[in-house]
Amino acid sequence: MLELHEVYGGYGDGLVLNGLSLSVGEGQVVALLGRNGAGKTTTMRAVFGLLPRLAGRITLRGESLRGLAPYAVAARGVALVPQGRRIFPSLTVTENLLIGVRPPRGEQRVRWTLEEIYRLFPILRERGNLRGTLLSGGEQQMLTIARSLLTQPLVLLCDEPSEGLAPVMVQRVAEILHRLKEAGLSILLAEQNLDLALSVADVAYILEEGRVIWQGTAEELLADTHVQATYLGLRVEASEGA
């Protein structure tokens, strides 16, 4: 579905992505892991053509996305759930949603109509007339996911959706990701929360300094506490509890 091959890129002088390659298969959920600053967000920006410097191959179903404006990348079927949620503060919840609305593609298993979105996120209907940024953190995360879904994506780039959320909301995000996976969406999921990432992902990549330093299935990573401790440096006690 989405392939990155030997991608180099950065913002100014130094490179942030250093020959990164990864692939997201049809209907697959791929976890993108790594410490803060490893290049997860930059990877997603590369797909949308938002890096001042970029080299390498980026394709969606074999067709290159290089050189396309961000809106054209979106039109091909890539959607971004950005880090920090980026709700439009001047717009109401409903208006935030309407910005995303596109007609469905023929090939989708689930067509994301407003009805469907409201079934999944009833709160967004109830709070429709509120300014988007007045929602709670968790509700804002629902809104940003919903807004992206309305663009009728084939691939969802989901950047740390659990960041800054209370445990119940993290649980809710996990449920939604499972639901989207069932709906046949391909997902690239950047996460710091390993439990969440591995509960939904099929395969995982670990990034460091803009290249892939480990890749494997989610089961392999779940079993390998050594890799977890060395490359991610987190959650050792949690994995012992599991």
């Binding site: 439009f88 503060p89 001047s90």
Partner: protein
């Protein structure tokens, strides 16, 4: 007490013109961080074209239409011809629009000469009416009404339509808007064109009260820049409030000390910005 009905009417009618010029400037800046220094030229073009059309065809209303459409056409040429190519290059855009302003001033001087030209209001709007015990020019009152109606229209377009939501979202976070599949440059082009239309309309509407002459472009540009900064960059309601404030201050001071009005407006802007750097109704940008 400087607050007599006549000077309020004069101030508010000037505020209408300021708003028409400033609102496009403000939203264009909010979208793309870009200052169009040819804004005053569009006003000038609107005024001159209106004068000529009124002279040739004898219709004030056709003159308004022609002035607005002429400025729209020039605006589209500026946007399509140059700005599209200079996307995200602020310095060149500023130099270029300043260059356009000079060229327009020379060309218009060559066509229409250096003397102020005045357009007569339509028959129905000539003369004066009695308002709150004062005699005020009918056309000035009509200008205020036109300003209110047009501000309402702009408000409706921006706040109640899908395209308006795109514009506001673009002012908030253009990159995110594009990632959601909206062509930000097309939104910008449309806003720019509508802004030019309003400038031209402002020029045409203003000609009966201020006349049109070389230099009118620079003067309205400077005043509109103050309105934009004072109201808050990218804020339409801010543009309304700031236009009214600047218009009223200008007309009050002018009544007593004509030479100081421009100075007073700048001092006011400086004072407001010292307290609220984001302007009266602007939001603090991250």
């Amino acid at each position: 007490m400087p607050l007599n009905t006549a000077s309020v009417v004069i101030g508010l009618s000037y505020a209408s013109l300021l708003f028409l010029v400033a609102v496009g400037l403000s939203v264009v800046f909010g979208l793309m961080r870009f200052v169009n220094l040819a804004t005053g030229s569009l006003y000038l073009i609107g005024g001159y074209l209106a004068w000529t059309i009124a002279g040739e065809l004898g219709s004030f209303w056709l003159a308004l239409l022609g002035g607005a459409l002429g400025a729209l056409a020039v605006g589209v040429v500026i946007e399509r011809g140059f700005l599209e190519r200079l996307h995200r290059n602020e310095l060149l855009q500023v130099c270029l629009t300043l260059g356009v302003a000079y060229v327009v001033q020379d060309v218009t001087r060559w066509i229409w000469g250096g003397d102020p030209l005045r357009l007569r209001p339509p028959e129905s709007l000539r003369g004066s009416i009695l308002l709150l015990g004062s005699i005020v020019p009918t056309y000035r009152v009509a200008l205020i009404v036109a300003g209110v109606v047009l501000a309402g229209l702009v408000w409706y377009l921006l706040e109640r339509t899908k395209w308006g939501a795109y514009v506001r979202a673009g002012v908030d976070d253009l990159e995110m808007l594009e990632c959601l599949g909206i062509n930000g440059r097309r939104v910008f082009a449309i806003v720019f064109a509508l802004g030019a239309l309003l400038c031209g309309l402002g020029g045409a509407l203003g000609t009966p009260v201020t006349g049109v002459a070389p230099g009118a472009d620079i003067q309205i540009l400077l005043m509109a820049l103050i309105v934009v900064v004072l109201g808050g960059l990218g804020s339409v309601s801010g543009a309304v409030v700031a236009s009214v404030v600047v218009g009223l201050v200008d007309s009050m001071v002018r009544t007593y000390w004509p030479e100081a009005s421009f100075f007073a407006v700048w001092v006011l802007a400086a004072l407001v910005l010292a307290v609220r750097p984001q302007g009266l109704l602007g939001r603090v940008t991250a």
